[in-house]
């Protein structure tokens, strides 16, 4: 008996592998073809096709060394270390469109603010000064962007005296002052503390919505990506492995790794053992039967995930006649406060995670090692991937 190793993904609009990307050419502000970067004989970037639509926010996510920064810096033309073509508004950069002119129509913000050793005003004005914009216009555009990022009061302060958040706001204002047609963000909030990052993400979200600036952002922070982006590209080993809307990535991740990266908590592998009541299918996970609504085939090996917010905990036995098709006796293995909610780790014979409120914890009297009942609807179970089992 042998098994095929390839996982296919159930029907969805999500594109796995950038070569499948097909978008109307009129939509594209930036596109790249056969982009390849090789260093020391190792291919560190391999993107057959990459299209960015005008006005969209596209986030690149993926583990360290996935090639996010390399992709950003190359399509921003800060290096010319790649093979392939990058097109801006349909024109090939370096051939039909000048590199210098292209760079003056885009802007990039790095993880470090990289401010110049001068005042906040002069920092924000620097991109305009490079372009030879007249002083009156510079004053107007700098004032607008200082106000926009809430740093007008820091106008005459030396960049040396700014906090991390203020410095990154200055860096963003400096980029926006040039009115870029494409904004590249390379993990701009990565070195900020959580409250500062939250405030800045909220402001940037609002500004991007207002300005409709096309943005390509590399980030490690899935919440930032899910919040800001119209589409997310998941990168691994220099390749774009999955591209889709945030909902598509969360509901239909390519594999377990992508699932864990976008924050899916409970990912389980099981076998389809037969049909349940009302057209559901039964997936056996560690000897426990889980009812699933998605169409499956008996004998299939599948990877499923159960969203923690869909798991309900109770102290009482749950009747099988309720809409909650799945119910399991569980033991609480860990309770982890997560600020506004609590994450509860359960052992049901398989691991399960539930999110509950502080009030629910108090009213149920939950504690570690306590026995509870965990339940969830069959519709709360989503199939990430499936593996055909072949019999010789």
């Amino acid at each position: 008996m042998s098994e095929t190793s390839a996982f296919s993904v159930p029907g969805s609009d999500t594109q796995h592998g950038a070569s499948n990307i097909q978008l109307p050419a009129t939509d594209a502000i930036l596109s790249a073809r056969n982009l390849r970067v090789v260093r020391g004989g190792v291919t560190i970037l391999d993107v057959p096709e990459f299209v960015v639509r005008e006005g969209e926010v596209l986030c690149l996510i993926g583990p360290n060394g996935a090639g996010k920064t390399t992709l950003l810096q190359n399509i921003c033309y800060l290096h010319k270390s790649f093979e392939g073509e990058v097109m801006f508004r349909g024109k090939i950069i370096g051939k039909d469109h000048g590199v210098f002119d292209y760079r003056r129509r885009v802007a990039m913000v790095f993880q470090e603010p990289l401010l110049f050793d001068t005042t906040v005003f002069k920092n924000v004005a620097s991109g305009l000064t490079f372009r030879g914009v007249d002083k009156k216009e510079i004053r107007k555009r700098v004032a607008e962007n200082l106000e926009r990022f809430g740093i007008a009061h820091l106008r005459d302060r030396s960049a040396r005296t700014l906090s991390g958040g203020e410095a990154q706001r200055t860096s963003l204002a400096r980029a926006f002052a040039t009115k870029p047609e494409i904004l590249f963000l390379d993990e701009p909030f990565a070195s900020l503390d959580p409250p500062t990052r939250e405030g800045l993400t909220r402001d940037l979200e609002k500004i991007l919505l207002e300005s409709q600036t096309t943005t390509i952002s590399a980030t490690h922070d899935r919440n930032e990506a899910l919040r800001l982006s119209d589409r997310i590209a998941f990168m691994r080993n220099g390749k774009i492995e999955q591209l889709g809307t945030p909902a598509e990535l969360v509901n239909n991740p390519l594999d377990e790794f992508v699932a864990s990266f976008v924050g899916v908590e409970t990912v389980l592998t099981g076998n389809v053992v037969g049909k349940g009541e009302g057209g559901t299918w039964i997936v056996s996970v560690s000897g426990k039967d889980i009812e699933v609504t998605e169409p499956l085939s008996e004998g299939e090996s599948v990877v499923i995930h159960i969203s923690p917010e869909n798991v309900i905990l109770s102290n009482n036995f749950v009747s099988k006649k309720t809409s909650l098709r799945n119910y399991f006796a569980a033991r609480i293995t860990c309770i982890m406060p997560m600020g506004p909610f609590i994450k509860v780790y359960l052992d049901c014979g398989f691991p399960l995670v539930a999110y509950i409120t502080n009030e629910s914890k108090e009213s149920l009297g939950l504690s570690e090692e306590k026995a509870v009942t965990a339940s969830f609807k069959a519709t709360a179970v989503q199939v990430i991937a499936r593996k055909e089992t072949e019999i010789d």
């Binding site: 990039m108 790095f110 470090e112 603010p113 110049f116 050793d117 960049a159 040396r160």
Partner: protein, 232 residues
Amino acid sequence: MDLIFEGIIKAFWLLVTFDPEVMSIMFLSLKISGSATLVSLFIGLSAGSALALTQFPGKKIVVGAVNTGMGLPPVVVGLFVSIFLWRSGPLGFLELLYTPTAIIIAQSIIATPIVTGITLASLQQLPKKMRLQILALGASRAQMVWMLVKEAKLPLLAAVMAGFGGVISEIGASIMVGGNIKGYSRVLTTATVMETSKGNFDIAIALSIILLFLAYLINLVLTYVQQRERPR
């Protein structure tokens, strides 16, 4: 001890009364070493920037040579400049030996590797992404280089001070190519050596105090630069 004590008192008297001979030696030294520093700045800033911002095969060998040059012995420089400017030497027709110009040439050769090396280090100490950030803000290559030099302005000031400090305090080259001619090519270091050998400790101490004061000023600026923080 009396000799030293009396020497110091006389030296202060020479300084506070602006003794014409001491003042003339000091101003000539400042003029010669200042000129040599300017020449070395022009060459060293350009060479250091080019080295820092370009990649080419054999760069490490060139950087190694610059670093070696930072410790160039002044007497060796003095020897070769003397040979070149000697009446029968390759540049003898210029008749520059035993002139202030000859000292400026020798001191420039001593200071240039110092300025080049510090410029190179200053630009390399800037965050690596600073260059990309400047380009990403729409700067031309010339604007990028200028911005980097501006960002490294304080370490570059250190290069100026180190270059000046290196030449104002050297003696080997100055005495060999300048000749220590009174009122013409006599500088602080050569005069100190001569006055000491003559037993005129008061003048020698007065000249030494001026040298020490200049050295202190230079180190004060360097300390300030070293302890300064960069923006985020």
